[in-house]
Symmetry: D4
Subunit: 249 residues, 8 copies
């Protein structure tokens, strides 16, 4: 019932004013004590609830998944510890787990539309866990994903040899640590939004990803926006959001 329906019901006497006051105030979530699981977010935000798996016990994760899964077709658990994934597998069906990205999905991954394409580009081998988090997030939300890995700017021919794939993407995720230069180069090659993800890859003055983050914030390419260090999920989430809403060319 939305506000208008509640008010109509009050007018019609189907609802007392007290009941209406409660309904107008009640938030659409189930309180589990340790978390408020948001069962209506799918309707409100157009995609499934995403559970942040880190820092939760396997049992807590299972509890949240059980509450939410009743209403959702596909559920995504990010930064999911192996132990949590195993407990989920033992209790729920259709659980898939990728150890590199620590992405766990429950339920059927939706089939992408024909023109769907998110490109996930990464600079070095060590950036792969973050890149995979982005790629698998976008896939779980219904996008088709092409991966272009180990394409850092010190060997510029590596990314240039992939311009044809990039040209078809409807959103690009660019993942890099160290000096974080990849999104600027990619941003100059495409005309779609580039979601830049700094990674904590590097040492010394890379400051756990801060240098890459600052570098990306200052990108001289116009279409680049930035998410938090190692936040592959965030970039994949936004890239898929853009991809799925794009009109066919």
């Amino acid at each position: 019932m939305n506000t208008m329906e509640i008010l109509e019901a009050v007018k019609d006497g189907r609802l007392t004013t007290e009941e209406a006051a409660i309904r107008l105030k009640t938030a659409p979530f189930v309180d589990l004590g340790y978390a408020k699981a948001d069962t209506h977010r799918k309707i409100r935000q157009g995609s499934s609830e995403v559970v942040y798996g880190a820092g939760k016990t396997p049992e807590q994760t299972l509890g949240i998944v059980r509450t939410l899964y009743e209403e959702d077709g596909c559920l995504l658990i990010t930064r999911c510890p192996k132990e949590s994934a195993e407990l989920l597998s033992e209790n729920i069906k259709d659980v898939e787990y990728d150890g590199i990205s620590r992405i766990c999905t429950v339920g059927r991954i939706p089939r992408p539309s024909p023109n769907s394409l998110v490109c996930v580009v990464s600079a070095g081998t060590s950036d792969m866990p973050v890149a995979e988090e982005a790629a698998r997030t976008a896939e779980a939300l219904g996008s088709r994903v092409e991966r272009i890995y180990d394409a850092g700017v010190s060997g510029i021919h590596r990314i240039l040899s992939k311009t044809d794939v990039l040209a078809r993407a409807r959103a690009v995720v660019a993942v890099a640590g160290m000096e974080g230069a990849l999104p600027s180069v990619v941003g100059g090659l495409v005309d779609v939004p580039v979601l830049a993800v700094p990674t904590s890859v590097g040492y010394g003055a890379s400051f756990g990803g801060v240098t890459a983050l600052l570098s990306m914030m200052n990108s001289c390419s116009s279409g680049v926006s930035v998410v938090n260090i190692d936040n592959g999920f965030g970039a994949g989430y936004i890239a898929s959001m853009i991809d799925r809403r794009s009109a066919p060319l």
Copy 2:
């Protein structure tokens, strides 16, 4: 001529190997000495060239605009000093200038499509120059823009009273200084990408926008990505890119 066409021409003898080598190497820009004006970017990136007006003399800006304007319908000069705008007005027709955002446009602003909608939300009165830079950039690129200003989170009812407008937006720009909390709240209210712009508004530990930037990087809302401090242009550019490519709902 693209690579295949050049190669075919070599094979057919229409082009010598020397000419072909030059064509394969020649970048599609006009060298003005003080700048390399990119005349093909419209084709390559799907939008008009944008000129960064700050730090250029009025004469340099005029020179660049003249070179680029031959091929473009609408040209955008950001951070345009008043003096440059005046020189442009005297020499070129269809020049419009907004003193608050320092946005200058040359040529006809394209008419937005029926469903186009970018929302630009700002926290306080002082954020207006940056918010306007975002709004006018998106308009110059062909989007329809709704402005929701002075809607900071310390009076949460102000943004909540605008949820109906937000719900129709295809991309949102959220502009805030100080603690930069607005994008997180907005991100929880919509299911489209939110481009967060930290501003240098504030004092003391706001560090000229750094606190807002960091705050936005750590947003607990999934759809938020961030551009540089005071970079209204960047956010408006990306928001419009997303808006114009979105499928009708």
Copy 3:
């Protein structure tokens, strides 16, 4: 004996000038060698001594507690390691220990006054240890506490559904990591002091709580002041101080 009493005693010959000089200088504490336990602080500051349990051996903690407990009705040990709590339990009665907040109390917790109310609000599940430290500190000092947990701003309806409880609070503690936006929103909903506690929850550019701290320092809501990262104790201490001294409405 206060200064006037000492001087009177000198005048009357009840005290030699040497004794008086010593009394005027002697600080009201018991020197344990490894710590100066302050037995008069209750009188001077109106509440029991608080012992910082971290970095002390169980034996040191027991020694300090024994010295102080003779004069105090209720003693609070913060950041108390499990081992210290166990040793206390074995040697002293009326010891209570909460493993999440690591708060240990010795003696009877005072009964709150009828109008007493401190609200402890937290943004996410992971902020709970800090929030509990604040809540249990306020309770140990004599306040009644209402907890509103997992009410972060990305789902703004969660905190809005609790405005009635917030309205009755005489002081609010707002606990948040990541972007630290919760205190600004809460500060706009209440007209009592809000004690903001940044937590080290987050990753990447959250910098172990620094981003939340800076965000809270820049709050656009007027009633917000800030304590150190993860300092739930400090916020609970001040909130209870305000609560207990408030006049009945």
Copy 4:
């Protein structure tokens, strides 16, 4: 009309559902275009609206003051430029302006209650503008204020000679730049909340107040919380809030 009253009116037919929906949504502010002046905040937050004068034209400030003043007995403009104060004086009566703190008040300052007492302590002569901002804010909101200035810790006898005044305060504001040590010492002398205000006074490694801010965040005294650098207003506002709500001792 509150929620229950609106619902009753719907039930009784005094209000259409459409009107009710609007009332439930309409925020209690007047939109001036350049600002949303909050006319109900006095009721909601128990004190007058405060206008941040910096960065607003004298005309904008006058406009906001005129809108708000209809319903308020006393209005406070902080960081008010001299020009704005002069324009206000010419157009509105009962305007008072202090050039050091840049505090401007419109209307009658409320008379403090008999037991009211806020102490404002500052470390050095240069901290006076910030200390005065705190003092005058608290006075404008209805508190009695005692000033103890130039009492920095390098001459510890200066603050110790004032312990009797400090002992009667119901809240203390402690203002210091450089190493920011004053709030820790003060916090050890009183048993009421201490609002610490770092100032930008200092040079070199004082970093415009950051050192003082960090120092205060790490205070070893339990009752200390911190506001932004140079934010005398914020500290005075909270101190007065605590003072006015305190029960007579």
Copy 5:
């Protein structure tokens, strides 16, 4: 006289032990009171003395130049204010001054060797003063210089169209502000040392060149080393040092 010659002279009685002691101790500089001008550095370091012109009065600069110029063929004054250059021109012949780079030379610039080539590459128009400082420094020290300006990575074809020139360079200076990505790309294209110069060009999170500096420190290309922000002189000096000592290929 070197140490052995001094000792031989002592042995032969040509020098008293006192004279020898003085010679062994006397540094090869002329003390002007306000500066110790190093007349032997040319021999010791193989190039002319370089005078840092900023922060010196025109008269001081003239004094230093007069002292040093007696023994040197070409003298370089960096960051030379216009006033100093003018005073030099009026008093000494063969003075050349470039207002953009603020480089002033006194005497004849040496003719470069046939194979000499330093490439100075810059990212944007605003980097030109720093790039010119590097270029003119290298020229004053005897190198031939090729300039490749406005070749930032957001239009990667601009630098790729110049690979033939880069391939002949014996050292490269790469100048960039904002994200500072250019040296990484250049470093992957050449097999000679790349001297990276961060510039203070940019705004917001560019932090006056710090982001570019950090980015360059983390370059994934092996041949890149970095000098201070805006230190075009330093990079030009080292690049020329490498160039002039390189063997013909």
Copy 6:
């Protein structure tokens, strides 16, 4: 009267208990309203009051000087603006002012003892104002000072040629900006305390003296301690303190 004397007077009836209580509490300072001038510091700390001249009006400075000068032989005003020095000269005799260090002295500078020697070493010409502040402070307090300027480590022979002077010093002040390496080298050459003063000389990553400060904090030489950036006064004050208390060798 000290504590014992006051108590004796109470015992003897020469002092009432009330008078005694006041004397025990009264701080030995004169309250000028805008400052608490400490007239007893000379006795308590063994040297004259030092007035920080910056941020005070010429009239305020004159007022403080007049209050303090009654009891002191020599008064030191640091960071004294030219205007304040001029007003002092017009109203008080024996005023000396040095425009470079902005040190102003009132009264007769004490004559140093025969063995007194403080060495003030500085790295570059631009460090001279800070070095002079240190030197003139030490002189005003009664030390003999030797200056060794422009002796930075890039020409190591410059400081090595002065080892004989350094060897006689009883305390050394080492002043340097940029990389701040001078104190480490000096600390290895002497066996007396080295007071290191970072200066704000430099550009780019010198961060206004922060790099020099950090460098000095990490000195590998054991006898080095550090004062604030540009705090020549502090270093000269401590060096003179050590010098004047040193036993003749």
Copy 7:
């Protein structure tokens, strides 16, 4: 085949346009899935591929080495874990491993030319692993290396006693942690490029090498450029590059 050769082959019919297009696009690397091994870099950059051993499994390292080693005479693995070195030794011949620097070489180290000389200077014993990484890198690339270790500036005679060796070097690597002053002193003693390497040696305000890095960036010696913290490899690589290309004196 270079571009011209490919175009000639198209013209002659030896290559179809499709084949040519592929060749023009195909990057000269072998895609191993987890890495793109660059088999042509030796030709393009004049030295062997360098493999970054950290963060790779022994099996991955072996796979990359096998791919690259077919075409290279000597292969360098930096930051090579002991386990990877052992697996390499078991499977490939001519493997050498140094546990301190974690440098592993595969194949024959080239013999240096007669005049080759790189000096590696380090400040303290703890800097040795980084210094050795530099030294062994330069040796593996074909340079002769002299080591001058434990020669920090607090005992300046230690580096001064080695000026004769330094004078013959064609490039110098200067390695230091803590205050990082060594490169400035060395830079004043030689007239060849000095590659400065900050190390993470130190504690407290050394910030894991950041202080040394900043100090080196601000070196007052002209020939100093800087690489990342602990990046001995980078400095050795560049120093050897300079050394091998230097003309005989």
Copy 8:
């Protein structure tokens, strides 16, 4: 032999010029390969060699101690791991080890002079290891030490009750973590140099001692200088240097 003696010997034929050249160049240290042990430092710097024990193997420490101990009466090993102390004890006599400060001494600690007095003051119990490092260093170098521990400024009476001891000290070491306010208070109570030592004690915004360091750098007390975080040794070394050279009062 000093320079003059060497030269005399050359003149007299007692020394060949070659021998003299070597003597003039030879540094007074013994090269152990992994360290250059400085056997003459005692003469040059007036105190025993100090060995930094951290990061050295027990065997390396033993080797260095054996080399140095032949010429020294008392040797100090700082940050000495327990294992190293045990190996030393087994092989050398007169070894003493303190586990809290990790200070190890070899040989007889010198007896202090009658007036010798260094005060070591610390703020909290957790600062004790650093305070003890300072105290034991000063004792090992020949000073008498008084310890005043757990005297932080939040209970200001604790340090005030010790003013009589402080008044007799010839140098004071003040050790504090968290807000680092203690040295400022102590500096106002004494008229001798105060060596401030920030400690890494604290959490959150104490940043491992950085806040305390910055606070101490900005001390408003004139006699305070600062050493690195946790550098108790450095402060004790300088304090003892000052103490031992002080003239009897």
